[in-house]
């Protein structure tokens, strides 16, 4: 703090990714709300002709929120937190700066191509790995660029020890790299035979093997995309915003390594009652249950960080977002293992309980944490006070209501449907035809769509708040800000 006003953190890239986070958040959630409404009101399938059916749009929603919104959020925070915990500025390395810009623009290109190809129905049809092979190759390049950025920045760091968040960012990078590469192995048919469309490919794996690889990927992509990097964020932003150092650094070490090992075992639980060997299924279940322990280690660590500081919960809406996020994290990491218990899975699998589970995790934990992070970063990125505190408060309650409507309706819908599929009459014949089990869900599908709409409105409030902060917030000097994020009433 003496003679060097000269060197400052450089947030150019972080700002770009904040922009894409909001953009893809809006796109992904608008489509999500639309397809939720389509299940309640099928007429909505015909708004865009061939391109507007539930089935065409669903991959657009999932890819938009996973690879658009969440990845952007991860990178926005990486280009912010990375510099700060390593105590080195991007401005010190023109090379890393160039890599960062390339990273962003290539990523945007991939996303545009992804939207176009998915709308056209060009898909490899594996869940969360729909993109065809040329796009997969581009994704790999984007990923390598991020790797260069991580390890490049680490290479020129001042702080010798890597902070907790760094471990999680590194694990995200490695985990996704491995999963994505193996799952997307495919052979382009045009290159092999000279016939047909050059975009088409055929999977390297067939049938049951393909399923094994896919759910190994599917489950763990959730681990390394929705859990690990979000933990990276909360380990930085919660202590920073509250001014409390993390409750126990030792506990964070343990939960990290525990999570790394155990998480990957749990992939088998997606295959319960299919054709994979029995023991593997049992192991999958057991380990999913064991999973609760290390994953709660992180959440408990976060809650204990707030020990003696709970007044902040009422005073600071950002703390509210983050504490609720850790709570939802605990809820969904408890719910997941419960669903993987064999007898529960027999009912829950294939039903709406599964999307219900996914959404209490993503809406409550992932999106809340990313929004809190952006709220915290905005004044520091733009040197402006956050535009409106009361808007943040309103948004919080609106979205929380949305989540509750979403998961409660899907729990009921899932269990109802699971029970009806197996119900028999007094003679042992199936009691319901399939369509009976569909029409009964109409009210729940409607409630879910309303919940989604509330959440979406909340997201627009968030976007508006950030936009106003940038456009007309009160000036502050971002580099002198204390822990608590400044906001106008």
């Amino acid at each position: 703090m003496q003679n060097n006003a000269a060197l400052e953190y450089d947030y150019t890239i972080a700002k770009m990714f904040v922009f894409s986070t909001i953009l893809f958040g809006i796109v992904g959630m608008v489509i999500g709300t639309l397809i939720a409404a389509q299940l309640a009101f099928p007429e909505l399938n015909y708004l865009l002709g061939e391109y507007g059916t539930f089935s065409r749009l669903r991959p657009l929603h999932t890819n938009g929120v996973i690879f658009g919104f969440t990845l952007s959020g991860i990178w926005a925070t990486w280009y912010y937190v990375g510099q700060r915990v390593l105590k080195v500025s991007m401005a010190e390395s023109p090379f890393l700066m160039a890599i960062g810009k390339l990273h962003f623009w290539l990523y945007m290109l991939v996303m545009v191509l992804a939207v176009v190809t998915l709308l056209m129905g060009i898909t490899a049809s594996k869940e969360y790995a729909q993109l065809e092979w040329p796009l997969d190759l581009l994704v790999v390049v984007v990923w390598v660029l991020w790797g260069l950025s991580i390890f490049g920045l680490i290479g020129i760091r001042r702080e010798k020890t890597l902070y907790i968040s760094m471990w999680y960012y590194i694990a995200t990078f490695l985990g996704i790299a491995m999963l994505y590469l193996f799952n997307n192995m495919a052979i382009p048919t045009q290159l092999v035979t000279g016939y047909g469309s050059w975009l088409h490919s055929v999977s390297m794996y067939a049938g049951t093997n393909d399923a094994l690889v896919q759910w190994w990927y599917g489950h763990n992509a959730v681990a390394f995309g929705f859990t690990v990097p979000i933990i990276a964020m909360i380990y930085y932003f919660l202590p920073k915003e509250s001014g409390q150092a993390v409750y126990s650094y030792k506990l964070s070490l343990l939960s990290f390594w525990g999570l790394m090992f155990v998480y990957l075992w749990a992939g088998g639980h997606h295959l319960i009652y299919s054709t994979v060997p029995d023991w593997m299924q049992s192991m999958g279940s057991v380990f999913s249950v064991v999973l609760i322990l290390p994953s709660w280690g992180s959440a408990i660590n976060m809650l204990l960080t707030m020990k003696g500081e709970w007044n902040q919960l009422t005073e600071n809406p950002l703390i509210k977002f983050m504490v609720l996020a850790s709570t939802f994290y605990m809820l969904s990491t408890l719910e997941g293992p419960i669903q993987s218990i064999k007898s529960v899975n027999a009912i829950a699998h294939f039903t709406d309980w599964i999307p219900g589970h996914v959404h209490d995790g993503v809406l409550g934990w992932v999106v809340f944490m990313i929004m809190a992070a952006i709220f915290h970063m905005a004044p520091r990125l733009f040197n402006k006070e956050l535009y409106s505190k009361s808007l943040v408060e309103k948004q919080f309650w609106l979205q929380t209501t949305g989540i509750v409507l979403y998961f409660s309706s899907m729990w009921i819908a899932g269990i109802t449907q699971g029970m009806m599929w197996r119900a028999v009459d007094e003679y042992g014949n199936l009691a319901y035809s399939f369509i009976d089990t569909v029409t009964v869900l109409h009210p729940y599908y409607t409630i879910r769509a309303v919940g989604g709409l509330l959440y979406l409105i909340g997201f627009f409030m968030f976007a508006y708040n950030i936009y106003k902060t940038f456009a007309s917030g009160k000036e502050v000097d971002g580099s002198t800000l204390q822990n608590k994020t400044p906001m106008s009433a």
Binding site: T53, L162, V192, G196, A206
Partner: protein, 227 residues
């Protein structure tokens, strides 16, 4: 001893990688050889059926339909014999699905027919009132990509030794012929004609007569094959 890792990013990364890669190795690799063995007499998909599977992928029916019958009485009563690993040996990619907004389709060919599908795909509610399945009218005018389907069949034949142009059941005849692109196209058209004959949509019939195969014909061929 352990703090060492957090100061050395390279070894830290190696450590993380070893730990996460290990589970994958143990979970997946050992089962590969066995799980890929087809059941006795399993026939590969014809070119028209592959084209239909591509339509199934393109319009992403997997978003609402599974193809995996679990070994419970309630499921076998509803859908038929439970699914066996070897039945999927030629499925690339697998299409088990993860959500049953609509019923399982793994054996739909046993109980639904060409004309039923024709009506249902055109307007589901005309067959099943209150259905929430979208209508897929565009399949009646879009033309299926038979050449790409041929490319796929040829690829799996050459790369994975899928038994095209072979006698599988030992009756002395080739079971699923592939041959050259001209042969395959002629064969696909022949199968398409048989399906179009059971349909009533005149545009579809005309297209097939012209030598073009609408998507609806291909997807019906595929669903009839699911048994």
């Amino acid at each position: 001893m352990f703090h060492w890792l957090e100061e050395r990013p390279f070894f830290f990364a190696v450590g993380v990688f070893v730990v996460i890669a290990f589970a994958g190795l143990i979970e997946i690799l050992p089962n590969f050889a066995q799980a890929s063995r087809p059941i006795e007499g399993l026939k590969p998909y014809s070119v028209l059926e592959i084209a239909g599977k591509e339509v199934y992928k393109k319009d992403n029916c997997i978003a609402c339909h599974s193809q995996l019958i679990r070994p419970f009485k309630s499921e076998t009563d509803r859908y038929g014999m439970y699914s066996l690993s070897g039945e999927y040996a030629y499925d690339r990619p697998f299409l088990w699905g993860s959500k049953r907004t609509g019923p399982d389709l793994h054996r739909v060919g046993n109980y639904r027919t060409t004309d039923w599908h024709e009506n249902h795909m055109w307007e589901p509610t005309s067959v099943v009132p209150n259905s929430i399945m979208p209508a897929y009218k565009h399949m009646f005018s879009n033309i299926a990509d038979i050449e790409t389907a041929y490319a796929e069949a040829l690829t799996v034949k050459n790369v994975f030794n899928v038994p095209y142009d072979q006698d599988i059941n030992g009756d002395g005849n080739v079971d699923v012929a592939l041959g050259s692109w001209e042969d395959a196209r002629a064969q696909a058209l022949k199968e398409a004609e048989a399906i179009a004959a059971d349909m009533k949509n005149q545009d579809v019939k005309d297209a097939v007569a012209r030598g073009e195969i609408p998507e609806i014909v291909a997807i019906i061929a595929y669903m009839n094959r699911l048994k």
